[in-house]
Amino acid sequence: MTEPVAGIVLIEDDPQIRRFLVAALEIHGYAPHEAATAAEGQRQVTMRQPDLVILDLGLPDLAGLDLIKRLREWYTRPILVLSARTQEHDKVAALDCGADDYLTKPFGIEELLARLRAALRHLAGQHPGNAGGRIEAGSLLIDAAARRVLKQGTDVHLTPREYQLLLALASQRGKVLTHRQLLREVWGPAHVESPHYLRIYMRALRAKIEDDPARPRWLLTEIGIGYRFADDD
């Protein structure tokens, strides 16, 4: 592990999951601190100023959403949300409230680690592929300074909205953006309730960018939640 040891606060009420997560995180070189309740979690976050917070949505003393809102009043680093299957509708709300990513229980540790890495990279400010206003993903190159998109070295012609959409996703690589967030960013706050725009533009964008639009490599759909620009290379 060449990365510095990242401090993580884990707020989760189930002791078994806590035990497994703490063990797994320690094995992989992180420094986790556990909290079983929202109050305890809040105290830990304030005290330790961790690099990242892992938060379970179903806490006994305070709704996860409310905790996110409270933390977001001052805490700017990534928040990763864990949710059970019955709380699917809460995931979108959590992301809209300011959570950075989510994981649905049960999950494999590889999946968790990938999300952690993505979030921490984001915290570090740069994805290895994103440098100097240039975003590289495989054969794809987005040159934000020049407002150009190249695929295998060839110019891809995008409409302004397609470009804005692609840039919104690619500039936050690995992070899930909800429909609302994307609509607000690309179309403006008046259009947050029109997700069909996204479907149409995403289809057009994939047709221009992806090798196989039916099985996209970069522009990933998170069913029921939103979109994500693939993080891996």
Binding site: R85, T86, E88, P106, G108, R161, W187, S194, P195, H196, Y197, R199, I200, M202, R203, R206, P213, A214, R215, P216, L220, T221, E222, I223, G224
Partner: protein
Amino acid sequence: MAAEHTDARPDPDVLLQRVQREASAAARGHLKIFFGASAGVGKSYAMLEAARKQATAGIDVVVGYIELHGRAETEALLEGLQILPPQRLQHRGITLAEFDLDAALLRRPALLLVDELAHTNHAGARHAKRWQDVVELLDAGIDVHTTVNVQHVESLNDVVAQITGVRVRETVPDSVFESADEVELIDLPPDDLIGRLHEGKVYLPEKARHAVDAFFRKGNLIALRQLALRATADRVDAAMREYREHHAITGTWAAGERVLVCVGPDALSEQLVRRARRLSNSLHGEWLAVYVETPQLQHLPQAARDRVLRTLKLAESLGAQTDNLSGEHVAEELLNFARQRNVSKIIVGKPMRTRLRDRLRPNLVDALIRSSGDIDVLVVTSEPGAAVAAMPRLPRRNSRRPAYLKGLVAVLLATMLCAALFRVLEPTNLVMIYLLAVVWVAARYGRGPSVLATVTSVALFDFLFVEPYFSFAVSDTQYLLTFVVMLTVGLTISNLTAQGRRRAAVARHRERRMRSLNALSSELARERSRESLVEVLRRHILRAVGGQAAVLFPDATGHLQDADFFCTRGHAPPPGQTWFPVPGNDLGIAQWAYDHQRNAGLGTDTLASADAVYLPLKALQRCIGVLGLRPREPRQLQVPEQMHALDAMVNQAAIAIERVELATTARNAGIEVESERLRNAMLSSISHDFRTPLATIIGAATTLLSDAPAGIDEAHRRTLLQSLLAEAERLHRLSGNLLDLSRFDAGGPRLKREWLAIDELIGAALAQLRDALGQRPLRIDLAPDLPLFPGDETLIGQLLINLIENAIKHTPAGSAIEVAAQADADWLHVAVRDRGPGLPAGDTQRLFEKFRRGRTEDAQSGFGLGLSIARAIVLAHGGQISAQARAGGGAEFAFTLPLHRAEQPGDD
């Protein structure tokens, strides 16, 4: 031979009646009447004495109500008996004491004493008459002792009134008197009674003293005593007869006599009814009372119609079956009815007509006698002194005036034509022209105008065309014949047409009724739910009588629900306020009607103070509810015919509702069996499908933790961990599926519809299944420009995942999977195809049922829930799902989803 044979045997109908009577008698209370010739003979005293004996014998005796009239001897007898406190009724500020029926029913003694059976209850009591209270007590199985004076027996009421000159209004129907199990005559010789009277031992109200003095004359008392003795003797005779019948003593099986009495709108009818009652009683037969409504009678004034209804009601209370007939000819209708009902005697009143009219028109009596055949016709005269109300004349109808005028115009035209042809035609042929006019008027405008036309024609013809002209004198007597013929023809034709018209009217009336009943039954047959059946019934009832109707159904405990059916079900009331909320008081009446399966409320004997009538919905097996009806014209309920029509409608509806309810019960039973089967299937499925992975998990984990002497080498450790993971994932899938399923079962999924792109969702589903798919060849076949479709993103994603997962699960690793999507005008078509072993033979839709797998005990586990969830999702979106075998091997699971293209959103 055959006749002899049947003579020796009891009539089966009679036998059946007796069996039914005995069956109901077994559960019924025992009624004993202490019967006397007049007040003061000591009935109450005798009743109390008998009660004391019973009480000493250990029987639970309660005094329900007793009139002491301040008699000390009687009061002394009450000593030691439990007395039920009377209920206090408030009536116009006065508190009235009344027998408390409900308290008695609640107390349920073995024997209850209720004095004065003929008493009329005060307003506010449940029944109008005390004898109705007693009938209810008997029905409830309580024995009752009561007292009755001879003048209170309905059918003897007239006779007593004739003897004593005093008519009592409080009467007991003969049927109640006769149904008494025991009648004990309390006899006191008239001299003794007068003696008691003088000693002040008989209670006499002060203000009635004068009338009472007249009543208690010795002659009256002798006559009353004779009547009482005879009535008792008749009962003894009846009991004897019954005994003989019961023991099949031959020779007493005379055919039952049936007496039919015809009532009219005159005041004599009431007497006629009482006479019929006495006659039928002495013949030990049944009797019927009918009113024949002819078209003329349809225009009777209200008062006369009401009298008819009252008379029929009286007959009913005296035990007659009543009916309303309608027809042109009274005699014909009566005889038809009589033959249908096997009537042996018809009673009619002697007509009160002037001699002239009698001569001119055949009267009912003549007509009846002429065609009565083997039916006896008894003509009864009015009793002397009885009030004879003159038949009110029909009001003249002014609306006929134009008809008369038009008749005259026709005659005038005929005259003009005659004048024109006067020189050409013989006068006898001119008559033909007039005749033509008269015939036309008669056919067109009926009798009145035709008579006028005839007379005018004759006059004009005589005046203008018969010598000497311009004079009514007739020179040739043969013209008199002409006049007579003209008059006769005119009258005959007008009579014929009028008759025809009336017949048509009667036929129309009948047809209308039949049609409405038919319409009701066919409408009822079409409906499948109780709500709609009730609505049909209400519509028809309201069409028939108008006003407002409500239907009440009982809850599980047999209590009618206290709000209107349409309110409780959240139905909007039908327009025009044709429903009404049943007020709290009325609910009790409705409940009574339901419990006793008898009509109650307005226009009935029970709780008549209500403003609605409550008819029980009697079906084949039980009473299923109550119809409340607040008719626009309460009088309509008095018309027996109308009530019969209502009853018929209510019965039809009740049977239809029962049919629907039985069907529902049967269906629910079926559902229960099915859900029981499902529960069992699920339990065995869960126990199998959960235990298998758990066994692996626990086994692998314990192996890893165990202290193996040689340690666990890396390869084994990995294998164990992999199987741990795989089985845990399998459990995850199962629990996820179960969770989804329970969500669908709890009232179906709530869809969060958005416009979705199927290509995107297919891509996302494949991405989620990337690990499971491994290196399988995958073919994705998407039509270009697939339209968006409305759906729930999560659910459609789940649907695709389930179908693809199903394909992965049931095909060998490495075999290809295809996903295809295309659209036509209205539908999106999606298919997931594989090259696996195909589908089991049989109904492929069964694959989508819960807890079913293509092959039993498949190595692949998973409840088979994935497909049933897939189907639930597709159905919730209004689509179809199917499975079929592919040509060349493998299976295809295909679904369609509606595109709703018309609502497609435009882009930016």
